[in-house]
Symmetry: C2
Subunit: 142 residues, 2 copies
DNA sequence: CCGGATCCCCTGAGATACTG
DNA sequence: CAGTATCTCAGGGGATCCGG
C-alpha cells in the first residue's frame, strides 16, 4: 500500500495531499485496466453492444471461461459494464457497457488505431531483432 | 502464449488474406501491448527521456528485475525503444523510446487521462458493488 | 442446454543470490 | 550496475460438474 507515511517531514510547505493519492489510485486503475482480456472484452462489447456470456467468449477468442467470468466480474465491479440476468429456463445473461465503460473504450480506441497503423512496423522490428539476435544484442555506443 | 497464431491451414484462394491477418496481428499486438508493465514503462520513459535500467525500475516502482528485463526486451523487440550499451567499467545501459514508442505512449495517454477523470467513479462503483454483493448479485430483467 | 463454480495442472511472476 | 540463474508459489488455462 502507501509508503507515504514514512516520508516524515519531507513536505516543506505546500503540497496538495490528494495529488499523491490520486496518482496512486490512477496507477492502480491503469494497472487493473491495462489488461489484455479487459481491453479485448471492452472492444468486443463496444462493437457489438449487448452480448451474452458465450458470445463474448467466442468473439474474444482464446479466453477461458474462468478468465472471462473473472474479467467480467471485475469490470462490473469497476462500473464498466452492466450485467443483466434473465430468469428464464435456459439461463440468459447479457452484458452491456456502461457510459463509463464506453468512455474508456473510446480512450483506448487510440491505442487500437496505433496498432492498426503500426502493425507492419512492429512485424518488421521483430524480424530485424531476430536477425540481429545472432550478432550484437543491441546497439553499442562507442 | 499466443493461441492466436494457430490458424492451422488457411484457405488460400477465396478470402482476403491481409484483412484477416491484419486483424489477427492487431489483436496480438493489443494483447502484448495492453500490459501493465509495458504501459508503466512507456509512461516513465516518455516522461523522463533517456534512462538507465535501475532508474526505470525505481521510477516504475514495485517491478522485479526479471519483469523489467523481460518487458524492456519485448519492447525493444517490437521497436518501441532503443537499447544502448556503453562498454565502460561500470556497465551503463540506457533506454530511450523510439518514435514508434512515443506515438504509442501518446495514444495511451488518452487512457491515462480517462483514469484521472474516472478514478472517483470507479472507487464509487466498487463501494456500491461491495454493498450490493450481499443483496442481489446483478440487475434482473423483467 | 447456458452460465459459471470447482479442481488440477502448469506457466509465469516475484524474491533472492550470483556473475561479467 | 545490469543482468542471468534458480526456487517457489500465486495465478491462468482446460476439463468437468452443477444449478436453474
Amino acid at each position: 500500500m502507501s509508503k507515504i507515511a514514512d516520508v516524515g517531514r519531507v513536505v516543506p510547505s505546500k503540497r496538495t495531499p490528494d495529488q499523491a493519492d490520486v496518482d496512486l489510485l490512477v496507477r492502480e486503475i491503469i494497472g487493473r485496466v491495462a489488461d489484455k482480456w479487459t481491453m479485448l472484452t471492452l472492444e468486443v462489447l463496444d462493437e457489438h453492444g449487448r452480448l451474452r456470456f458465450t458470445q463474448i467468449g467466442r468473439l474474444i477468442g482464446g479466453i477461458s471461461q474462468k478468465m472471462l467470468t473473472q474479467t467480467l466480474r471485475e469490470m462490473e465491479r469497476d462500473g464498466l459494464l452492466q450485467r443483466t440476468v434473465f430468469p428464464v429456463v435456459p439461463p440468459r445473461v447479457e452484458y452491456e457497457l456502461t457510459p463509463s465503460g464506453k468512455s474508456l473504450c473510446a480512450a483506448f480506441c487510440e491505442v487500437w488505431h496505433w496498432a492498426e497503423r503500426n502493425h507492419e512496423a512492429v512485424a518488421h522490428a521483430r524480424a530485424a531483432f531476430e536477425s540481429l539476435a545472432a550478432g550484437s544484442t543491441a546497439e553499442v555506443a562507442r
